[in-house]
């Protein structure tokens, strides 16, 4: 395996705040950095501060941050021997990971095979189930032909259930069944529709989760057989499947329950030979955890886990890629307090349309327990070509209440002019009594926004 070679110069194949975050971690470990960038990002802070900066293409990501050939050539011509993909762009592209290693370079992340396995929902779920990670309760395969057997199965899974066509997708060929009396008719109808629509009447069923929360487990694995889980995050506050605010740990879920899930995730990593940082995402409702997918990269919200565990996840990624063994064991992973991250986007606070433009004022908050991860400096121009994330404000405190209080002070201090931001949305969420109680579901924010729009 080529995953234990040393490197001293890292090419950062990303932009924005995560590129700066990776650059800081490299610096801390005495590694040189190569900032490859698009023409639009020439004035970015991490580009100006990099040991080597190279413009590799125009603003369009397809010809810069997503251009595999250009990235590999850039690594060769700048003498970088490792590539950190960050998140987004090529970070979960198995072919890219393979190409990097085939070029004799180190990919700072899992193997292409791991990315491929986790990228396919069916193989990922199968691997997780085999490894003892809980998945949505269901038929685990096609429904039996006998309706009596289907009834028994559905009772075991628990109502409501969702009946789905094996060949379906995109929300078609599925039906929610709320109680046993309606099951037979629903199965017959869905099978008929599935035959007509997909030419395949095969059905399966799963427990229908109505108001789940999004809970995820951070893992960190070296190449010497150590796999750690670093606590849970609750990322239920979402809008159109985009996380808005995340917190660690997950409020109201007992640490013992999380520990059980965490241990299974770590065990699954050992079984599949996972390496580097990763995240297991679950839906959680009524005490049931259901695996959704694994993200095989560092996540936007990694700082809240760093705040509660004191572990520098990006530094650990780099050390693991150097072939080093993790210096700590699971018993050394101790979480302290509560951390919340607000994703600050340059967007209209009501329409949520991106708000590109030049930032004329950029006053950042500070004080105990406040961390700001951002690539933005005064005078920075938010480009229209990429996502609108301009920074992350992370509040940490001994308790959830303290974290919220610190964040509210911080957001009130923050001043951004020149572009619209969602700062006000975060302030309103943090002041919301239901949020303050903790444990809202993944639909809460959209319902809350709809009510706000109606009033």
């Amino acid at each position: 395996m080529s995953d234990t070679q040393r490197f001293d110069r890292v090419l950062i194949a990303n932009r924005g705040e995560i590129a700066l975050r990776i650059q800081r971690a490299c610096r801390r470990l005495g590694l040189e950095t190569v900032a490859v960038h698009s023409e639009a990002d020439a004035e970015s802070r991490h580009v100006r501060e990099a040991d080597v900066a190279l413009c590799i293409g125009p603003a369009a990501a397809a010809r810069s941050y997503l251009d595999t050939d250009a990235l590999l050539l850039a690594a060769r011509v700048t003498g970088a021997s490792a590539i950190h993909p960050g998140y987004g762009f090529l970070s979960e592209n198995a072919d890219f990971a393979d190409a990097v290693e085939a070029a004799g370079l180190t990919f700072i992340g899992p193997t292409g095979a791991s990315i491929r396995q986790m990228g396919d929902k069916i193989t990922a779920k199968r691997a997780m189930r085999d490894a003892g990670v809980p998945c949505v309760p269901g038929s685990d395969g096609p429904l039996p032909a006998s309706m009596d057997e289907v009834q028994v199965l559905a009772e075991t899974v628990g109502f409501p259930v969702i009946v789905k066509a094996s060949g379906g997708g995109g929300g078609r060929g599925m039906r929610v069944v709320w109680d046993a009396a309606d099951l037979a008719e629903a199965v017959t109808l869905t099978a008929k529709e599935a035959q007509q629509a997909f030419g395949n009447p095969t059905l399966y069923l799963e427990r229908f989760m109505q108001k789940p929360r999004h809970i995820e487990i951070q893992v960190l694995c070296d190449t010497h057989g150590t796999a750690l889980w670093l606590g849970a995050r609750d990322c239920s506050l979402q809008r159109r499947h985009q996380k808005v605010l995340e917190e660690a740990p997950a409020p109201g879920i007992s640490p013992a329950v999380i520990a059980e899930i965490g241990a299974r995730c770590a065990e699954a990593c050992r079984k599949i030979g996972y390496r580097g940082a990763g995240t297991f995402e679950f839906l959680y409702e009524d005490g049931i955890f259901a695996f959704i997918e694994m993200n095989t990269r560092v996540q936007v919200e990694h700082p809240i886990t760093e705040a509660t565990t004191g572990i520098d996840i990006v530094c650990e990624q780099l050390k693991i890629a150097q072939g080093e063994a993790l210096a700590i064991g699971q018993e050394d992973v101790v979480t302290y307090g509560h951390a919340i991250e607000c994703r600050i986007n340059a967007e209209d606070p009501f329409s949520f349309m991106p708000s590109p433009g030049t930032i004329s004022r950029w006053d950042l908050p500070g004080g105990p327990g406040i961390r700001v991860d951002t690539h933005v400096v005064g005078g920075y121009t938010v480009q229209p070509y990429y996502d609108s994330l301009i920074g992350k404000v992370i509040g940490h405190g001994a308790s959830r209440e303290e974290a919220i209080a610190r964040l509210r002070v911080a957001l009130a201090e923050m001043r951004v002019e020149g572009v619209f931001t969602n700062l006000r949305l975060h302030q309103d969420v943090l002041a919301d009594p239901r949020f303050q109680e903790g444990g809202v579901d993944i639909h809460y924010l959209e319902r809350w926004l709809a009510e706000r729009a109606a009033s």
């Binding site: 023409e39 080597v52 413009c55 125009p58 250009a70 050539l73 011509v77």
Partner: protein, 151 residues
């Protein structure tokens, strides 16, 4: 029908002087003083209209005679990244030294990436007036390599 849109040059080729004159006429008719066009390849054309006040009482529809266009040098830019090579590796002669005349599409430099060589070409016909890039430097995409004044 010949309308303004047909005459707006894409700057791959500079418009003929008559066309520039026509654009200038339209500018003057519209009461505009200048216009500037730029292309993604770095070509730039600025047309300035002479601002002569009309004699009082004179009913003149035709605009004042437009000043000739001021054609600024156009940069040949790197179409990729690589180490800059200004000398033809076969002939050991500079591709396009200052003072040389180049035609649009002529190779004026090479970007080398190990065995890969990417040509930098002249965006217009003209005379090389300045070499901006330094030989053997690692230059990025879009970097100016040299400037060419249109003939």
């Amino acid at each position: 029908m010949t309308g303004p849109s047909k005459l707006i040059p894409d700057l791959d080729t500079l418009p003929e002087i008559e066309e520039i004159g026509q654009i200038a006429t339209w500018l003057a008719e519209a009461g505009l003083e200048s216009m500037e066009l730029s292309s993604c390849m770095g070509g730039r054309l600025r047309i300035l209209v002479a601002q002569t006040p009309l004699p009082v009482g004179q009913d003149v529809i035709a605009p004042s005679v437009p000043q000739p266009a001021v054609a600024e040098p156009v940069a040949a830019k790197a179409p990729f990244f690589g180490r800059l090579c200004l000398v033809n590796p076969l002939g050991e002669e500079a591709f396009a030294p200052v003072g040389s005349t180049v035609r649009k599409g002529d190779i004026v430099a090479l970007l080398t990436l190990e065995t890969l060589q990417v040509p930098v070409t002249a965006p217009i016909d003209g005379e090389v007036v300045e070499i901006v890039g330094r030989a053997d430097d690692l230059v990025g995409y879009g970097a100016e390599i040299l400037r060419i004044r249109p003939l």
